[in-house]
Symmetry: C2
Subunit: 107 residues, 2 copies
Amino acid sequence: MDALMKMEKQLKAVSDANRLKLLACLKQGEVCVCDLVDVLQVSQPAVSQQLRKLKEADIILERKRGTWKHYRLNEEQSPFIQAIIDDLEPVSTENCSPECSIEEKII
Amino acid sequence: MDALMKMEKQLKAVSDANRLKLLACLKQGEVCVCDLVDVLQVSQPAVSQQLRKLKEADIILERKRGTWKHYRLNEEQSPFIQAIIDDLEPVSTENCSPECSIEEKII
DNA sequence: TCATTACATAAGCATATCCTTATATTATAA
DNA sequence: TTATAATATAAGGATATGCTTATGTAATGA
């Protein structure tokens, strides 16, 4: 894939209001899928599909923790993707359950 | 239109390989539509429609010169749009006809 | 082992996108 | 005027997108 195609793919991934909101949520750090569902007010599969698009564009990374899956922003972004993220107003999410985040503290 | 919607509109405008190529052409300065048609290898109406999308997102500006219409990058860009433009490899275009650009010199 | 929980995938549908060809508009030239 | 040239708009069709509901998968816990 040449540079322009890669750029197009990344831009397509972020050119959607719901996916921009997902990125705005991930500015606070790792978030699990159920918390993102609450924010977006769409179905869980819809969120899964959008997360996949962002992941396939190398914009976000995932990490499995038991039955939960945590997503976070990739630490290495294309400069233009980073500029988009910088422009987003952060959105905070609630923890779906105490167990979801408790493992973080155990590590 | 709130900030997120404006951002979405601008990102939709640039999330297309042909429109990215148009922006790459406009990095060299003002260009008329016929020269852009040559570069993209699509029909003239297709180019017109894409230019309109970029214009409606405030990414490019137009200027009428006789029967020609010259497009250029807006001098004031959102930081993230500027980052996208900066990332593009410039593309040079041929002048469709001597008269198209000659008026520039008269001014 | 079996139910539950968190998430992913599949299928289907409504709408959006992007091209095409045909036609309209506008300015210049003969 | 009338023809031509540059561009815009309209209409239509193929494909892409983004949602939904239904179902599959993997890990945990009783």
